[in-house]
Symmetry: C2
Subunit: 286 residues, 2 copies
């Protein structure tokens, strides 16, 4: 299957099944459920689920077994966006071209919708992920928590990374890299992959995660508001360093391409067919 | 052992071991870890861990096996207090006689400290809870998430429960009752208790949780600022209904005593020695 076709097929599969992992409307206050759904179905690219499926299928696993892990991961990603957009954090009024969760439901309900999605993710893993559940729970908690994604968010709001390439790299490795790495690893876990495959996929994911962040920084300054769904240059305006601001566009592009090539190399020696994963990396718009 | 002695012994045991479940300072941004510790070691009563230990030991289990479950539960309880105190939620500047987390670390870091504690709780269960881990993860996620505690918080900030005893009961059964029920059930699970024991303990916990909330409402209007560690009558001032405001103090007291007696009855027929659990319920100051 071609990369673009795969992306669309898995996105559609994921979107059609994701609602089944939300709490039942009889048990959940309607406004809370609406706030969760508003952000979970806001037209996200589903990048992490698709990486998870590609890793799982590359290891000989199935999208069915990978699905609950993908749902849990996307819930964690979505919660992080809701909390990140809050006035006390990144203060973004728009997300994917629509008002942020807190602009529609109020800050209190947005905080709770994020809390609810994070907690629901662990319920989904415990109930639906079968044999892979316990290990997947550990993986997700490690990647999302205070030595993973939340650590990156804490560094970000503390102004770490300003003007310092090494600090910026660490910040992004935690803030966005940890969940991208978890995506690929969770996919492999759902397929019962061995340690060697996991190690190689982890190396791929680290390189891909960095390339993805650099591409994001480049987009932030080169695209229009309509293309981004929010104000362009918003990171730069907030005084944050980005790869584009630290290195300039040309050097940033070269760094991203270097990472993609490093990522592809990590896949070569592995047992399994990871051509789709490599294709996803190559299809990053840089 | 007498109830008071047991309370103190288990609180001391718990406090001495809880730090071991936090992330290592090498892996976690210092300010994030400080914010987590500030609230986790703020001098809480450790009611939920103590209930958990009493249930575990009543079922013939050990405090050692119960410890990681108690640590995870207290992290979830602490995260809920941090988020609850935020200006967009209950807007409390004080908690246990000290400035709230967000007054010391800022709102953004307080949101993240809460997120981090919630996530760390699931890491602790995955890594440290042994055989009980998977079931405990499901129990905690269900109790804490969008059909449990967070549902109660959502009802609370939406103004549900105002003037209506049945809605108030549901609100509290979710907002505080769900975690109290989880405490008792997690303790039993750590001891490998059977379904019948779990069902009886669940009935006890429901009654205890309601009595605890009524007692809290009574304290809110009868105690001084120094005794409460925050402004007295704060719920009433926010226009929220409480058991005291809906029923008056005398009737509220009678309702609480009725629940305590109902809770004790639920324990009588169970296999195990639950005299400490019953003693804890009787020692509620009403």
């Amino acid at each position: 299957m071609e990369v673009q076709e795969y992306l669309e097929a898995r996105r559609e599969f994921f979107n059609s099944r994701l609602p089944g992992y939300l709490p039942s409307p009889e048990d959940c206050p309607p406004v809370l459920l609406r706030a969760m759904e508003y952000s979970l179905f806001a037209g996200g690219k589903r990048l992490r689920p698709i990486l998870l499926f590609a890793a799982a299928e590359g290891c000989g696993g199935s999208r069915e077994k990978a699905l609950p892990l993908a749902a849990a991961l996307e819930m964690v990603h979505t919660y992080s966006l809701i909390h990140d957009d809050l006035p006390a954090m990144d203060d973004d009024d728009f997300r994917r071209g629509r008002p942020s969760c807190h602009k529609v439901f109020g800050e209190g309900m947005a905080i709770l919708a994020g809390d609810a999605l994070l907690t629901q993710a662990f319920l989904v893993l415990a109930r639906e992920a079968g044999e892979a559940g316990p290990r997947a729970g550990e993986e997700l908690a490690l990647a999302a928590g205070p030595v993973g994604m939340v650590a990156g968010q804490a560094l970000d709001i503390s102004g770490a990374g300003a003007g310092n390439p090494e600090a910026l790299r660490r910040l992004h490795a935690l803030k966005t890299g940890a969940l991208i790495q978890a995506a690929v690893r969770l996919g492999a876990m759902s397929a019962g992959a061995g340690e060697e495959t996991l190690a190689g996929l982890t190396e791929f994911a680290r390189a891909y995660g960095l390339a993805y962040q650099i591409a994001d920084d480049i987009r932030d300054v080169t695209k229009t508001r309509q293309e981004l769904g929010k104000s362009p240059g918003s990171d730069v305006k907030k005084g944050k360093s980005t790869y584009a601001s630290l290195f300039g566009l040309e050097k940033a592009r070269a760094l991203a391409l270097e990472e993609i090539s490093r990522g592809e190399k990590a896949l070569v020696a592995l047992a399994g067919d990871f051509s789709l994963l490599a294709g996803l990396a190559r299809s990053l718009k840089i």
